[in-house]
């Protein structure tokens, strides 16, 4: 079939390749700069693209000045706890909202919807004051605190539960399962893809969050990777190779997870978008 106005395939590829280069170029530049000396990174004539000698000292210097193992642990603990809490509590509430009838259901679900419409910054001052009055600043608990429950997760998983056939529960009931057994043994395994999507979302946004860890864990040993970077930038703002080395160290864990689980990441985002 001849099409006059159809874009040639190579042209489409050309555009996509240019776009792809623009997408990864900052990361490549981050990596290249992280191995340069300060002189090389600021040399304009000639401009240096590749470091003449790969300077690992930038990394050892950054690792020496900052407690990265501690930052990795704090970030990992925050992400893991938020993922577990949001999945467990959201799945429970989502099932009840999707399938059970009980007084107050609509009202309580209204609370869930209401929370989703409000910008999160509105909760931050009181949440900070609560953590402060508990004497829990600069702890892992403080990092977890706003993510203990998830309105978004409840809404998302409710959509998944509502997509399951009703006959399943009737069959389970005939077999003598009570509601709890039906939920855990029959329904929960069927919304696995929803729970994976929620886990990925929660992990991604917890990992990227900057303001909350910056506010609540001011002690540098209690910081997360993101909030530590903000501090590091203030500390040595001229030494770009070292700043880039710190950035590489901060983004590498999530990047590795993404490379391994890219299918789950992308499908998680795609399916949840369709469900909201």
């Amino acid at each position: 079939m001849v099409r006059t106005n159809r874009m040639p395939r190579y042209f489409v590829h050309l555009l996509l390749v240019v776009g792809a280069i623009l997408m990864i170029m900052p990361f490549v530049w981050m990596l290249l700069t992280s191995f340069k000396s300060v002189t090389e990174s600021t040399s304009m004539n000639p401009f240096v693209f590749f470091p003449s000698a790969w300077k690992w000292e930038n990394y050892s210097e950054v690792l020496r000045q900052n407690n990265f193992p501690r930052l990795y642990w704090n970030t990992f603990a925050m992400v893991a706890l938020r993922v577990v809490c949001s999945i467990v509590f959201s799945a429970m509430a989502a099932y009840a909202f999707a399938r059970l009838k009980f007084p107050g259901r609509n009202f309580f679900f209204g609370l869930v919807l209401f929370q989703m419409m409000v910008p999160t910054q509105i909760f931050i001052i009181p949440q900070y004051l609560m953590v402060d009055s508990l004497g829990m600043r600069n702890t892992i608990f403080a990092l977890l605190f706003p993510g203990l429950v998830s309105a978004f997760g409840t809404f998302l998983l409710r959509q998944f539960f509502m997509g399951l056939p009703k006959e399943l529960e009737e069959a389970a009931k005939l077999d003598g399962c009570n509601i709890g057994q039906t939920f855990v043994r029959i329904m929960l395994p069927l919304v696995r893809s929803g729970m994976v999507a929620l886990g990925i979302f929660t992990a991604l946004f917890a990992f990227k969050d900057l303001m909350w860890p910056m506010i609540v864990n001011t002690n540098s040993n209690a910081a997360t990777l993101s909030s530590a970077l903000a501090k590091i930038q203030g500390a040595y703002s001229v030494d770009y190779p070292e700043l880039m080395a710190a950035s590489v160290l901060a983004i590498v864990p999530m990047l590795i997870l993404y490379v391994i689980f890219q299918k789950q990441f992308i499908e998680g985002v795609a399916t949840s978008g369709g469900k909201l």
Partner: protein
């Protein structure tokens, strides 16, 4: 007999009720403590002025709001935030849509492209902004070097009050393209292929197909992407915080509502004023959402 049935039913209903309450309890208690009470508290705090060193709150009534409405910086931040949203949302959605349409066809390397375009989404904004700041560097940045190769003058991307918001918006667009693209691609795959085949037979051009089939059928997804993008853009903070210091000459031209909220609440420890600012943000977001819900009826087609 009847009595027995009635008792059994009520026992069963009671069982369902208690299971329902038990299952929602953690989430609802959490929401009340973490979100509902804080909203009331924030509204209440906005009526107070924090004393020195954040100690001792003094009731000032609506003074924070009066101060806010005559505070030039607040109006700047409202303007900056809206301008940022205006720069980021249409551009990023247009680019994501083009990429999604390209990738929706039979094209080789589809999943590789998808993977690459999504990468900025998994990187922490703090790290990403740092490398962009370096790319933007006036004297040693890669971007100005490339510009100098084609004979253009060096540009002060970060420090110039006129340009800095655009530079920030570019980072915002770059970060979000992959995410929107994945959502739109999922929407595109829902459109039945027969529609295109039928219009092929009718001899419709690709461009016409895009406007007559793709756009209307994609409009529910597009609506979702527009709404979430606007809400995200209205809450912009990380990139600006990492890029523009309070002392920068570009600060007034880039400070967003959330950045201003952060500075007032936690840097200057005036939580009362910070609360008033965040209530203003809430009001603006609610107004925009309301307008979108009304406009939705005009352009969104639900099949």
């Amino acid at each position: 007999m009847n009595k027995q049935i009635a008792r059994r039913i009520s026992k069963q209903t009671w069982g369902e009720w208690s299971w329902g309450w038990f299952l929602i309890a953690p989430t609802i208690i959490g929401l009340i403590v973490l979100n509902i009470i804080p909203i009331i508290q924030t509204a209440y705090l906005s009526l107070f002025k924090s004393g020195d060193f954040g100690r001792g709150n003094i009731y000032v009534g609506l003074d924070n709001y009066r101060k806010m409405f005559s505070d030039v910086q607040v109006w700047h931040s409202v303007g900056n935030t809206l301008l940022y949203a205006l720069l980021v949302v249409p551009t990023s959605i247009a680019i994501s849509l083009i990429v999604a349409v390209f990738l929706n066809g039979k094209i080789c390397g589809k999943s590789i492209y998808r993977t690459i375009y999504f990468i900025p989404m998994v990187a922490a904004p703090a790290a990403v902004t740092m490398v962009w700041r370096w790319l933007y560097n006036e004297h040693f940045g890669l971007i100005n070097y490339l510009l100098s190769r084609i004979g253009a003058d060096a540009v002060d991307w970060v420090g110039s009050p006129k340009l800095s918001l655009i530079s920030i918006a570019i980072i915002g667009i770059w970060s979000v393209i992959g995410y929107n693209m994945v959502l739109l691609l999922a929407g595109l795959q829902e459109i039945p292929k027969d529609f295109y085949e039928a219009s092929d037979i009718d001899g419709a051009s690709r461009f016409r197909q895009f406007f007559v089939i793709t756009l209307p059928l994609l409009s529910p997804t597009l609506f979702f992407v527009v709404v979430t993008s606007i809400i995200q853009a209205m809450q912009v903070f990380d990139v600006i915080y990492m890029m523009i210091d309070v002392t920068s000459p570009a600060y007034e031209h880039t400070v967003s509502l959330v950045y201003l909220f952060y500075n007032n609440s936690f840097k200057y420890s005036n939580k009362g004023y910070g609360s008033a600012i965040v209530i203003l943000l809430l009001a603006i977001i609610l107004i925009i959402t309301f307008i979108q819900m009304r406009a939705q009826k005009k352009w969104v087609n639900y099949m």
